[in-house]
């Protein structure tokens, strides 16, 4: 009798797996950098190529790094959310302008509004690779010691900001 139950048993396990699978996103590649130090970079700023920006400048502060580009369609979706977040002053937002051209990047910010304290200009995408960027937009929350604590792949939404980003920022701010 036992051996006849085996097929049903295996089938039940399979269905359970598939059921869980329906709630997951197969395309999303989670970042192995969570809990590790933010990779070092030193890039020219978008607005002033004479000045540079580095993650070291942010040590001692909790901050958000948002990867964006003027050619990125989804970035438009999340931009209002970023502007709101910037206005609230809860956490400073810095931009990484990824594989863009200066005039286009600047023009985009002028049209859409600029939520970033500073935008670093990553023309060839090298820094993006260091951060494991594979699809724009992506957003990182980095703590006072320069460790990446959270990564959002895809556009930010008000829910995610409310449920994930803000609580984390608050918790990191206390530490």
């Amino acid at each position: 009798m036992n051996r006849f139950l085996l097929p049903v048993g295996i089938f039940a396990a399979l269905v359970a797996l598939l059921g869980v699978g329906l709630t997951l996103n197969p395309r999303e590649v989670p970042s192995p950098l969570i809990g590790k130090a933010a990779p070092h970079f030193e890039l020219p700023q978008l607005h002033d190529s004479a000045k540079t920006f580095s993650e070291k400048d942010m040590l001692g502060k909790v901050w958000v790094l948002n990867v964006w580009a003027s050619w990125c369609v989804s970035c438009r979706e999340e931009h209002p959310v970023l502007l709101d977040l910037a206005k609230s002053g809860a956490v400073p937002i810095y931009g990484l302008n990824y594989k863009d051209r200066r005039p286009e990047g600047l023009g985009w910010l002028k049209n859409m509004g600029d939520p970033y304290q500073i935008s670093a200009f990553d023309a060839d995408g090298r820094v993006g690779i260091d951060y494991g960027v594979y699809g724009v937009p992506e957003t990182y929350v980095i703590d006072k010691r320069g460790v990446i604590r959270y990564k959002r792949i895809g556009p930010l939404t008000t829910e995610i900001v409310k449920e994930k980003v803000l609580p984390l920022v608050q918790e990191l701010g206390r530490g």
Binding site: L5, F11, V15, L18, V20, G21, L22, L24
Partner: protein, 659 residues
């Protein structure tokens, strides 16, 4: 108007499918001949209405009716007619309707070719098929209605995905679905047998031709898909172990085990509960494939636009249909009893080993396909499983099965003798060894994998030839060789042809993987390059315009030893509606090699990066599949399946207590 007719037709089909299911199953359980008599007409009626619905959708496409959302998403007025028809199954809703149509076709087939089946069995079989139809019709009507309208209608459609605008699109899905869905017949026979409690050699005989035919269609469907990917995708690959490809390969593997298992059950009456289980698993894998492609659970180039809600429905369907039949199996299988006994070395045991290997292979493919999901679901990380895994795992599993393929036909039923087998097969083994050692040198260089492949392929081919030869030689009955060949049942020839097809297939795969070569070169007009003994001269590219695309078309002149071979026109297209670029490779097919040319990027006003590939014996891959399918068709058409036992003998047989 027409779409509404289609919609109503679907609803009517649902009612008829429901009647078919109820009348069939309850009628058989009650022994009510009036009810059982009504099942055939109900089934045929269902087919009529499904066909009407399908016709309405096709009409909407051909007439460019963009008020239908599905047409607007998958078609365009500039789309050539053939692709407007093929576009009917280009998206999720239409392809499910195609599924339902194929199911209805098989149902009608069963109603027409089943004069020799006892009424009770036929009713149950049709009843189960009716249940499956009900499930799918509910799915279509409630979650995937192809006839949904959109007002105001867009001025023009979003066009069929350019990758699908190809003759392959006309043939591949229908053939594939005929195969997938055809396993529902084997499944229905299995469930009917479990329900009636009667599972004997006769059941296997009735089930065999249906299963073999479905298997043949699936073989063709998969081969078409592979061939299509080869010339369409532009880089010369022909199998990627993509989740959707695996989804069609798994039922094929189990189906192959099933047709062999049925052979044993028919001949010797053993393995019965195992055969029933295989039939259920084969169809379960078909349904699983349908789930995987549409639910968004796995990433694939083939996946339809994903929608977890639809995924939930199909999963529920899976649970009801497969979970239900497996529970039935738990309940009824223990009563099936044993068949004849057989020795450790016998044809039965060799076929069982075949089954174990094919089942293990299917299991491995399933493991590899779902493993990333399992890891992700248990929070253990995210990995990806691709061709390196499958190739490492699949070849060692299949190699012994290929070897046994040469042995089993020579083994006697019930008890075979190893020394006798060795002596009869020594010439085949010799041929294999010679091929393995000598041929690779003739083709360029020796490598162990190529040698192994050629050994197995030659071994199987030689074994098939040897069987034929032995038939003409064994003069025990005194009949002439010719008479003996004529009296050999078609099924035997079918097997020989199909096995030979496997040998051809293995040869193709081995030689292509062993000896293919490619070159990426930068060509100005007039430049030449050489590969595989052929010279390719680039004569520049010019702009051309197609019905719904613009392209840069290159001209490549191919010569060998100064003799002109052909001229190839690879293209780099942009389909205007979706602004989608596509590489159209140019191929010169041949019996012993394909020449494959594709354009890379243009690097200056006149120069292009061109990729030329030499693929030896690649057409043997699909040729082998075709031979396999023909072998299956030949076997299925054997007269002993069509020969009706006289009706009253069949009834007497069926009404006896279970054997």
């Amino acid at each position: 108007m027409i779409p509404e007719i289609g919609q109503i037709a679907l609803a009517l089909a649902l009612c008829l499918a429901l009647s078919q299911a109820v009348l069939g199953l309850a009628g058989a359980a009650r022994g009510d001949s009036a009810w059982m008599g009504a099942v055939r007409p109900a089934a045929q009626g269902q087919f009529v209405f499904v066909a009407i619905a399908f016709g309405c959708l096709t009409y909407a496409f051909v007439a460019n009716d963009f008020t239908v959302t599905y047409v607007a998403s998958n078609s365009n007025s500039a789309l050539p007619l053939a692709y407007r028809v093929a576009g009917v199954w280009g998206g999720h809703e239409g392809s499910i309707l195609l599924w339902i149509l194929m199911l209805a076709v098989w149902t009608v087939g069963v109603t027409l070719f089943s004069r020799h089946l006892p009424d009770e069995m036929l009713s149950r079989v049709l009843g189960v098929m009716g249940l499956v139809s009900v499930g799918f019709l509910l799915f279509v009507l409630f979650t995937s209605n192809p006839f949904a309208r959109v007002f105001p209608s867009p001025a023009d459609g979003r066009d069929l995905n350019p990758l699908l605008q190809d003759p392959g699109m006309v043939l591949h899905p229908p053939m594939l679905y005929m195969g997938y869905v055809g396993f529902s017949v084997a499944f229905s026979f299995a469930v009917a047998a479990l329900l009636s409690g009667r599972l004997d050699a006769a059941w296997a005989r009735w089930s065999r031709p249906w299963t073999t035919t479905a298997w043949a269609f699936l073989t063709v469907g998969i081969a078409l898909g592979s061939g299509w990917a080869y010339y369409e995708l532009g880089w010369g690959g022909w199998w990627f172990w993509d989740p959707v490809e695996n989804a069609s390969f798994m039922p094929w593997l189990v189906g192959t085990g099933l047709i062999h298992s049925l052979a044993v059950t028919e001949k010797r009456g053993c393995f019965r509960s195992w055969t029933v289980l295989l039939a259920i698993v084969a169809f379960a894998l078909s349904l699983l494939g349908t789930f995987l492609v549409r639910s968004g659970v796995l990433t694939s180039v083939h996946a339809f636009a994903t929608d977890p809600a639809r995924g939930v429905f199909i999963l529920a369907l899976l649970v009801v249909v497969i979970g239900g039949s497996l529970l039935l199996y738990v309940w009824r299988a223990p009563r099936i009893g044993l068949g004849g006994s057989f020795d450790i070395v016998s044809r039965e045991s060799l076929l069982l080993v075949n089954n174990v290997m094919f089942a293990a292979a299917a299991g491995s493919v399933l493991l590899g396909t779902l493993y990333p999901l399992a890891l992700d679901a248990s929070g253990l990380g995210k990995i990806s499983v691709g061709p390196p895994y499958f190739e490492t795992v699949f070849v060692p599993l299949m190699a012994p099965a290929l070897f046994l393929m040469g042995v089993a036909p020579f083994a006697r039923w019930k008890k075979a003798s190893l020394p006798e087998l060795a002596s009869r097969l020594r010439w085949a083994l010799g041929a294999g060894l010679v091929a393995a050692l000598a041929l690779p040198f003739a083709l360029g260089r020796w490598s162990p994998l190529v040698a192994l492949g050629l050994l197995l392929a030659t071994w199987i081919a030689a074994s098939s030839v040897l069987q034929l030869y032995e038939k003409t030689r064994n003069a025990a009955s005194g009949a002439s060789a010719w008479a003996r060949l004529r009296n050999t049942p078609r099924a035997h020839y079918g097997m020989l042809l199909a096995h030979f097809g496997v040998a051809v297939f293995v040869t193709g795969v081995t030689l292509v993987k062993g000896y293919e070569s490619e070159k990426d070169v930068r060509m100005e007009p007039g430049d030449t390059t050489e590969i595989g003994g052929y010279t390719f001269r680039f004569d520049g590219a010019r702009d051309v315009r197609g019905p719904n695309y613009v392209a840069a078309r290159g001209t490549i002149k191919v010569t060998k030893n100064g003799q002109s071979v052909t001229t190839l026109y690879p293209e780099k297209r942009i389909y205007t509606v979706q602004n989608m670029p596509m590489t159209e490779a140019a191929i010169d097919p041949g019996f012993t090699r394909d020449l494959y040319v594709s354009l890379g990027e243009s690097v200056s006003n006149s120069a292009w990066v061109v990729r030329v590939q030499h693929k030896p014996f690649i057409d043997w891959i699909w040729g082998g599949c075709l031979l396999m399918a023909l072998g299956g068709a030949l076997a299925a058409s054997d007269r002993r399946y069509r020969f009706a036992l006289k009706k009253e003998r069949a009834e007497a047989y069926a009404s006896a207590p279970a054997a």
